[in-house]
């Protein structure tokens, strides 16, 4: 092994002129295999603990379904041994364990609700996981080089807009929990296209910014020690801002708007090095949010729930802080070490398996478990940022940063909402929450990050000209 990879390194060194030592790819994959086994053991353990805690017996059916899912993940791992040998070894195990913990908790809520068979959200989540992992596999197999995506910059932008507008199409769009972000035919198959849109947006932003960064960053006048852009260069910022505001007004979805806008600002900043963009963007967004909170009842309600959660009037109001406060009670009930899986009462909080899954996990796994889950996200995001640092082409760097940051921001928005750091908005917790669209989108993000990390290690000195 050592001889062979050393030989390979020697072979490449002259071609790229690099002094970087190439890591041994099979070692990375073996590490990944080891971590995957640990992840699957944790997942199986979680499901068994849920059954022991909530049912008092072991039901093999769901364990078997979980085992099938594990097999699929190992399939993905094997495929990577062939097509993405140098990919990051941590991303896949982290996504697997988060996905599995989510299924265990959703299953636990099913038991509390008495749902089984196709009514069971856990069974549906497993099916969606299969679809998501297959989508990830397809992504890895189809996109052999991420620069392919660069060519489809504007197509991605168009796809993102279409996906975003889809829920507003009469007959197709559906409103749930006040937000019009769903499409579907009846209740049968429903989808949140906005989740996929965030990937298309990241690709579009990366491609667009790499192409236009010079005009966005070089010219402008200096004010208060910052160089502000020219009026005519403000276009893209205004368009994305308008898009976010449209999401707030027409789709009544604060969280998604914040997510898209935050993603754009961060990528813009990384691409242009201009803090002034961030200042301008945040001012615009804050102004929009303040106007929205004054004029839109539902936005104002969210702020009231956040600021005066324990006020009896707010607590008892329709759409009031009941859910938020119940979530806090749940977390407090968990304490430091949690009640144990299957032994708390997460079912007392509304939507404990989707928007509030983090509170459910916090209740049953405690602060210790919540810290572990957050640490997994930190690891995931850190590995993504690593691509940004180590990447050699600006498109890849930007895309890696964008995709990682969108996961970080989404975790912050939803967990921050549950823990009352910011107003509560309806977003899914990546990988954990019940919901097919979110799972598919996040697994595609995993696939893209795996592909990017593989390219980074494969082409240590390749530079792309914008």
């Amino acid at each position: 092994m050592t001889d062979r990879s050393a030989a390979r390194a020697a072979e490449r060194a002259p071609a790229t002129g690099s002094v970087r030592r190439i890591r041994m790819p099979q070692k990375l994959r073996n590490l990944e295999l080891g971590l995957l086994i640990v992840a699957c053991v944790i997942n199986a353990g979680a499901i068994v603990l849920v059954q022991l805690g909530a049912l008092g017996r072991i039901d093999t059916q769901l364990v078997l379904l979980g085992a099938g899912l594990s097999a699929l993940v190992f399939g993905l791992h094997i495929a990577m041994r062939f097509v993405a040998r140098d990919a990051d070894p941590f991303l896949l195990p982290v996504a697997t364990v988060l996905n599995g913990l989510g299924i265990a908790m959703i299953y636990r809520i099913d038991i509390a609700y008495g749902d089984a068979g196709w009514d069971s959200a856990a069974v549906r989540q497993i099916v969606w996981s299969v679809i998501a992992i297959v989508a990830a596999l397809a992504t890895i197999l189809l996109i052999r080089n991420h620069r392919t995506l660069f060519r489809y910059t504007y197509l991605s932008g168009l796809i993102a807009i279409v996906l975003l507008l889809l829920p507003l199409v009469p007959g197709l769009g559906q409103t749930r929990g006040g937000a019009r972000v769903w499409v579907g035919i009846g209740d049968l198959v429903t989808f949140q296209p906005g989740e996929i849109a965030k990937i298309a947006l990241a690709v579009f932003f990366a491609g667009y910014l790499v192409r236009n960064r010079d005009s966005l960053s070089m010219v402008g006048r200096t004010f208060l020690g910052m160089r502000f852009p020219r009026g005519r260069d403000l276009g893209p910022l205004l368009v994305v801002w308008a898009l976010s505001m449209a999401v707030i007004v027409f789709q009544r979805d604060l969280g998604t708007a914040l997510l898209y806008f935050g993603l754009f600002l961060v990528m813009l900043y990384v691409a242009t090095s201009r803090l002034s963009w961030v200042v301008l963007g945040l001012s615009l967004f804050l102004a929009g949010a303040i106007i929205a909170s004054q004029t839109l009842d539902y936005v104002n309600g969210r702020f009231q729930n956040w600021l005066n959660a324990f006020d009896p009037a707010v607590y008892d109001a329709q759409g009031g802080s009941f859910q938020l406060v119940q979530g806090l009670f749940g977390l407090a009930n968990g304490g430091l070490i949690g009640t144990g899986l299957g032994q708390g009462r997460p079912d007392l909080t509304p939507v404990p398996q989707s928007d509030y899954i983090i509170a459910s996990l916090g209740e049953e796994l405690g602060l210790a478990g919540l810290f572990a889950i957050l640490a997994l996200y930190v690891l995931f995001v850190a590995r993504g940022f690593r691509i940004g640092f180590a990447g050699q082409d600006d498109f890849g760097k930007l895309l890696g940063v964008g995709l990682s940051f969108v996961v970080a921001l989404q975790v912050f928005i939803v967990v921050g909402g549950v823990t009352r750091v910011i107003p509560l908005t309806g977003l899914t917790t990546p990988f954990l929450a019940a919901g097919g669209s979110s799972l598919v989108a996040n697994w595609i993000i995993v696939a893209l990050l795996l592909r990017l990390s593989d390219t980074v290690r494969n082409h240590p000195r390749l530079v792309i000209d914008g």
Partner: protein
């Protein structure tokens, strides 16, 4: 680009750091506050779904949890519910727990801080969580005797151990069955509770430690006598003018002795005779001579105007803050704005029995973790010294005399010297009297202090009086506990 990336990384880390801090604040710092929120159904479910520890009397459970097949996992059962209701209280599925169920909820449900490692241990070893057991100081024989003695009267009996403050018996009537409030049906509990609240007999009151507070009437003369003797200016032989009628200062209101005439014969009467025959006029005169500050100071040394938790919450017995002269005179025989619980009067008797030292009353003998590790043992604590030992001795003699030759004659027990004082307190002009007895026995070696309260004149309106109704009940209970 990497400089910007570094900054974005820092921002992302800060976002996660915020989440770490926020979840720590909720799950650790604020956890107890959130758990205490009355809207938190989890706290209640949890206190039900752990095997709550039992409450024991003499090793036998009076409250325990047995497995049930519903949401709550365990059904709380109260053995002899009505008898022990003032001790145990109840824990409803949709409200606040009362009695020991409320005051020791953390221990009984296994969530107190001293049980943290125990619960952790049980969690790790896979055992079901379990609460601690609480042994109370109640003596089942005394409790049953007090219950039987009180019969159908509205009132309360409390027996304490003078040397330690242990509550040996605590009975209140009318009462309720805590089992009816422990059913796992919120609406049914609500209905039962509402019926109890609207019941004119107020069965939810614990008349031993609260309820609609009564004036102590003549039993307060013990506090007056203590104040007089402690002042150093009076002895039992000090004399007071002995008219048959006494006009309150600044008014035309007239005070009479309960006999209607003078207090014994003669134009003057001694303090000892006034206490023995329980005359009102000499004590009104004494109150005016001592002044309200001195009386209040003495009353507060006995525990008036202080709140006690045993650990159940109790009402505070009060001596008024700024009585005018007529009110001060009335307070001399426990009328006016003076209010006392039987527990407070038992503390007065117990202090006299205990050489002048007031002990804090307490219901809890011991708390034991599920692994039999003691969490808390009974520890007698002093509230303070109310009177000197010599005053205590003198007053014991005076009280023994009151039972043997005076107004408390119906508390006499053959072969045992009983110290006691009766009281017949007026409420409104036409309202029935409140009847009292407080005392202790044996007088030469005090084992038990007892206070009997009978409201509504014992059914006799203004015909009933302390010696007729309350004193025999005390005798009955003392006989039962002394012959045991």
């Amino acid at each position: 680009m990497n400089r910007e990336l570094k900054r974005v990384t820092i921002v992302s880390l800060l976002m996660f750091l915020t989440l770490f801090v926020a979840s720590t604040v909720i799950q650790y710092v604020q956890a107890d506050n959130l758990a205490a929120d009355p809207r938190n159904a989890r706290t209640l479910y949890q206190s039900y779904s752990v095997e709550r520890g039992p409450i024991l009397v003499g090793g036998d459970p009076i409250a325990f949890s047995e497995p049930s097949d519903d949401d709550y996992k365990f059904q709380r059962v109260y053995a002899n519910g009505p008898l022990y209701a003032p001790v145990t209280g109840f824990i409803p599925v949709n409200g606040e727990a009362t009695g020991l169920e409320g005051s020791l909820n953390a221990e009984l449900s296994g969530t107190s801080e001293s049980q943290f490692f125990d619960s952790l241990n049980r969690l790790i070893s896979g055992q079901d969580p379990m609460g601690a057991s609480v042994e109370v100081t109640i003596d089942p024989v005394a409790q049953q005797a007090a219950w039987d003695a009180l019969g159908d009267y509205t009132g309360a009996i409390i027996v304490t151990q003078p040397s330690s403050g242990r509550v040996i018996a605590m009975v209140t009537k009318p009462t309720y069955d805590p089992n009816s409030l422990a059913v796992h049906n919120g609406e049914e509990v609500e209905q039962t509770y509402q019926n109890l609240v609207e019941d004119p007999g107020d069965p939810l009151f614990n008349r031993a430690t609260g309820g609609d507070m009564n004036p102590p009437g003549s039993v307060f003369k013990l506090v007056m006598t203590a104040a007089a003797l402690e002042s150093g200016q009076y002895t039992p032989d000090s004399t007071f003018p002995n008219p048959a009628e006494f006009t309150l200062p600044e008014t035309s209101s007239v005070v009479r002795n309960s006999s209607g005439g003078t207090c014994g014969s003669g134009s003057e009467v001694t303090l000892a005779t006034a206490l023995r025959l329980s005359c009102n006029i000499p004590f009104a005169e004494l109150a005016l001579e001592l002044g309200d500050d001195a009386i209040r100071a003495q009353a507060e040394k006995f525990g008036f105007n202080s709140n006690f938790t045993i650990p159940n919450p109790t009402e505070t017995s009060t001596y008024p803050a700024n009585p005018d002269a007529p009110q001060t005179a009335l307070s001399g025989f426990g009328q006016g704005d003076v209010r006392a619980t039987p527990m407070q009067m038992a503390m007065v008797s117990a202090a006299i029995a205990n050489g002048g030292i007031v002990m804090d009353p307490d219901l809890v003998e011991s708390i034991t973790a599920p692994d039999f590790r003691p969490i808390e043992e009974f520890d007698a604590t002093q509230f303070g010294r109310a009177i000197s030992e010599s005053t205590a001795r003198t007053m014991t003699e005076m009280m023994v005399n009151g039972v043997e030759n005076g107004a408390a004659s119906n508390a006499r027990i053959d072969g045992v010297s009983v110290a006691g004082k009766t009281g017949t307190a007026e409420n409104g002009e036409d309202d029935p009297y409140t009847l009292w007895f407080t005392g202790f026995a044996p007088a030469d070696d005090p084992q038990y202090a007892i206070t009997v309260l009978v409201e509504d004149g014992g059914g006799l309106g203004q015909e009933g009086f302390g010696n007729l109704i309350a004193a025999p009940l005390a005798k009955q209970v003392l006989e039962a506990v002394l012959n045991k």
